[in-house]
């Protein structure tokens, strides 16, 4: 440690950030997966297929954007699958009751944000670990969903006024080509990137995830940072739920069960550490794309969905193992 030139700022800073080792690794894996897909099936690399992958990952992707904030905070939100269903049922019931669809959407999103806020309040005010809080609320929100819908599915009738417009969100394609859902995901992802890497909230999120006590001592409002993350997580889950309803015109109380695991997997594959303080939005986006392509490749090659579950699980463990190995190597160097 004798360098004196040091303090000369490096202009290449942003470029280096982009090539952040962990993301570069996942990105390389994504490229390899793409090549593998192309080799295995001639149908894979067609724009039609890729756009439908884009459609399929959109809801998971939107939820993963919110989940990234929670995970970088060093917290976890297991209730997003239930919030997804709660928001979808709320919106569906509002539309079925004859409310204008934009109002119905706002109700669904509001329900999701409030659900996230309740999670956050329980974590920061009661001091209960988020794993426990959201394990509980996973069950509570699911139960409420079943209660208010009385266990019955909701089907939106295309004959009802406004339903056609509403279903465009999930089923429509811009210029008849690009799925609306994918566009909505892209917009939310862009907002997520800016919020996490360019705003004070994002900066403070990394600080809280890295050393909560240090963050408190320098005057960062740790509670606000965490609350915001849980609200974002609830809100993005609700957006995905509303899109799910719009896509299928149908929702029932058990819809979205287990979604939280796919969402968390995508964030973890994308390089965020479960103990907080590290990860990026770009990493999450790559992680989401990775899961989508992987499932698609298994699908078009006719591999059973049971195997897909096995492979996804193995990939998560492999991703984290690779990361751990890389970290160890780095600290030894």
């Amino acid at each position: 440690m004798t360098a004196t030139s040091v303090l000369a700022p490096k202009a290449s800073f942003d470029v280096r950030k982009l090539l952040h080792a962990r993301e570069a690794g996942v990105f390389a894996a994504l490229v390899l997966l793409f090549i593998l897909g192309t080799v295995l099936s001639p149908n894979f690399a067609q724009s039609g297929n890729l756009l439908s992958v884009g459609q399929q990952i959109s809801q998971i992707g939107i939820m993963a954007i919110g989940a990234t904030f929670v995970i970088i905070n060093g917290e976890i939100d297991l209730s997003v699958g239930s919030i997804y269903a709660l928001a979808a049922i709320s919106t569906g019931m509002a539309i079925a009751a004859g409310l204008a669809w934009p109002v119905a959407i706002l109700i669904g999103l509001g329900v999701g944000a409030v659900a996230g806020l309740l999670n956050g309040l329980a974590v920061v005010l009661l001091g209960v670990p988020s794993f426990i809080v959201t394990l509980g609320s996973l069950s509570v929100f699911r139960g409420i969903t079943l209660l208010i819908s009385d266990g019955a599915p909701i089907s939106l009738s295309a004959k009802q006024p406004g339903v056609a417009e509403f279903t465009l969100l999930g089923q429509g394609r811009l210029f008849g080509v690009v799925p609306m859902q994918l566009i909505i995901f892209a917009v939310i992802a862009a907002l997520g990137v800016v919020l996490l890497s360019r705003s004070r909230l994002g900066f403070n999120t990394y600080a809280v995830g890295g050393n909560q006590e240090a963050a408190r001592l320098v005057g960062i409002n740790v509670k606000t940072v965490k609350l915001t993350a849980f609200v974002l997580s609830g809100l993005t889950a609700a957006i995905a739920g509303v899109l799910g309803l719009s896509f299928l015109s149908y929702v029932q109380g058990v819809t979205g069960t287990g979604l939280e695991l796919t969402v968390i997997s995508a964030v973890i594959i994308g390089g965020a550490a479960l103990f907080g303080g590290s990860g990026t939005m770009w990493g999450t986006i790559i992680g989401v794309a990775f899961i989508g392509l992987l499932q698609n490749i298994l699908n078009i090659n006719g591999i059973s969905s049971f195997w897909q579950t096995v492979v996804t699980g193995l990939v998560i463990v492999a991703a984290v193992a690779a990361d751990t190995w890389q970290r160890k190597r780095k600290t030894r160097a």
Binding site: M1, T2, A3, T4, V6, L7, A8, P9, K10, F13, D14, R16, V194, R198, S199, R200, F203, N204, Y206, A207, G209, G210, N211, E213, A214, A215, R216, L217, V218, G219, I220, G277, S278
Partner: protein, 251 residues
């Protein structure tokens, strides 16, 4: 006393439940001077300065800053006045780099986006002013730094925004000889720049090397406040252990 104190604590009281930790403590610190705060483990030194930092407000007592009574209820308020604290355990985020740590919690981050380039230049400039030459890049993660380098970053953080009062809680406790030397030099340089430094230390050699005033806390009470040149090591040890009582004029 040539100059008026910039910090004047009077009759500070603080308890945690039934445990009374500070029992009416007075303390002064002067611009351009190093005031050492010594006392045995558990005497209440860290508690005294956490109140000054606004993280753990006092139960009662008066805080005067540059002659005016102030209330410190949050780190932001203290920071706005120019009071900065380097904590015993440093309070750095290992997952962030030097620049990011130096700007942690700073208001100029604003609500919108912020200027990374400007932050980097300011951080580098601050380190340069402190004649810090031991870090190779301001974009290094703090986790990769040595104990002395981490201490340096924490001190640089505290002076980034032209602090008027810098409190250092045992800055040399975990350091080797050479790094201790560097940190003490840094303390001296801060005082030369007109900063009022409050230095907490268990190492009396360090204290006598840099301090202008020495205040001794014993079981939650300030038992002595003296000019360093008017006292000696043995007396201070006596005050710290309670085997000697100070009966001169409180400096």
């Amino acid at each position: 006393m040539a100059e008026a104190p910039i910090i004047e604590l009077t009759n500070i009281v603080k308890s945690f439940g039934p445990v009374s930790v500070l029992k009416g403590v007075n303390l002064r610190a002067y611009p351009g001077k190093v005031t050492a705060l010594v006392g045995d483990n558990g005497a209440g030194k860290s508690t005294l300065i956490k109140g000054l930092a606004g993280v753990q407000p006092y139960d009662s007592g008066e805080v005067r800053f540059a002659g005016e009574a102030v209330h410190l209820h949050s780190p932001r308020e203290a920071s706005r006045l120019g009071i900065e604290v380097v904590y015993q355990d440093l309070a750095l985020c290992d997952n962030l780099d030097i620049v990011q740590n130096m700007f942690l919690g700073r208001e100029e981050l604003g609500f919108g986006t912020f200027d990374e380039g400007l932050m980097e230049r300011e951080a580098a400039e601050t380190l340069r002013q402190l004649s810090v030459r031991t870090v190779s890049s301001v974009r290094q993660k703090v986790s990769s730094l040595s104990g002395g380098q981490r201490q340096t970053v924490a001190i640089a953080r505290s002076v980034l925004k032209k602090a008027k009062v810098v409190v250092l809680d045992e800055p040399t406790a975990a350091l080797g000889v050479a790094q201790t030397e560097q940190v003490l030099e840094l303390v001296g340089r801060l005082a030369e720049q007109g900063v009022a430094v409050i230095l907490i230390s268990h190492n009396l050699a360090d204290v006598f090397a840099v301090a202008d005033y020495i205040s001794v806390l014993y079981l939650g009470q300030m038992v002595a406040s003296v000019k360093a040149e008017d006292t000696n090591r043995d007396d201070i040890v006596g005050y710290i252990t309670g085997s000697k009582t100070y009966n001169g004029v409180q400096a």
